[in-house]
Subunit: 204 residues, 2 copies
């Protein structure tokens, strides 16, 4: 089935492990938890039967690989940091946040990443082993945001961070799986939302 000969190198810079984990995330987004099986990954990735089962010996191992990769992929979307304005003022903070959220909502790959993220978050509810990675990356991101809010004059950075993160997460979830039956919000709308939220938290 595969176009490459059995012994040759994997796809291109992507290790077999990455290919498997990426395919697992794609399946998670497309078919949900019930669609993520060892054999489905084999098939979707174009690997010979048994490859996934061999690489991730148990289902939990497969989920762990998926979560690890999820964190990497999210970091990659967040990293091209238009986000960090050291002390660029509130306007640039609002702009950066709106741009980042907007990027998540446009582009099919990013939307899929959001679905798999929530799918895994729900599963982590029941599997303590998955929580670790999740909490770690989340905490790092929140810390970063908290610094930004402090610099912008927040009187209660911790709570305000939680509030901001909740708004972002809720917005993303709504657009991907929730009330937003219509088109996703435009960048202006996101900017307005952020401006209002930050106005309330920072100006009191």
């Amino acid at each position: 089935m595969s176009a490459r000969t059995p012994g040759s190198a994997p796809v291109r810079g992507a290790s077999r492990a990455e290919l498997i984990a990426d395919t697992a995330l794609a399946l998670l987004a497309e078919r949900g938890m019930r669609g993520l099986t060892h054999r489905a990954v084999d098939e979707a990735a174009g690997l010979p039967t048994g490859s996934t089962s061999n690489h991730a010996r148990t289902r939990l191992a497969l989920l762990e690989a998926a979560v690890r990769r999820q964190a990497e992929r999210e970091a990659a979307v967040l990293a091209p940091d238009e986000l960090p304005d050291p002390a660029g003022g509130r306007a640039s903070l609002v702009d950066g946040l709106a741009l980042t959220l907007h990027r998540f909502l446009t582009g099919e790959a990013h939307r899929a990443l959001l679905v798999s993220r929530y799918e895994l978050a729900l599963e982590a509810t029941r599997r303590p082993e998955l929580r670790a990675y999740y909490d770690a990356t989340g905490a790092r991101f929140r810390e970063l945001l908290s610094d930004l809010l402090s610099a912008a004059g927040s009187t209660d950075p911790e709570r305000h961070t939680l509030s901001l993160v909740a708004w972002c997460d809720g917005m993303l979830f709504s657009c991907v799986a929730g009330s937003y039956s219509t088109e996703p919000p435009t960048r202006e709308e996101l900017r307005a939302g952020f401006a209002e939220l930050l106005g309330g938290t920072l100006d009191g």
Copy 2:
């Protein structure tokens, strides 16, 4: 196994259909999509093997029953309306919202209802048949909120409603499956959050 004789009436006002749907929701929250199976419902509900399979002939039918019941249960939590203050001013609006959210976050039953809700929302991403109920109840709730915001002086009720709902949803999701590793927020914290959010949107 069951304590009641085969021919006697079901539990107590709860029809067999309700029992099955409620058990399905409980399983969804406790074990996720993969844990929701016909046989698992039978076992968890203490029904003879095959009952669920017989009542919800296909898996989709079982999910539809679960979604329908989910809407009912949520309405029941929302309905004891401390929420609707016709024109009680912003303070009472903030109070009502904070109280409602706080009630969802305290009480194991309500938390479980949140998990099953997000589980079903994700599934609805892939099953158009499930979207119907979901969208309908969501739209009704948003309309109600929109009226409240208009009465409170919102200049853009539609967008502000979406923003408010996103904040609530994000807050709930965070507490149930997300960044909130610590204790859930207190009612004062929720009140503060709402006050800030509404301050930003209404005073602009």
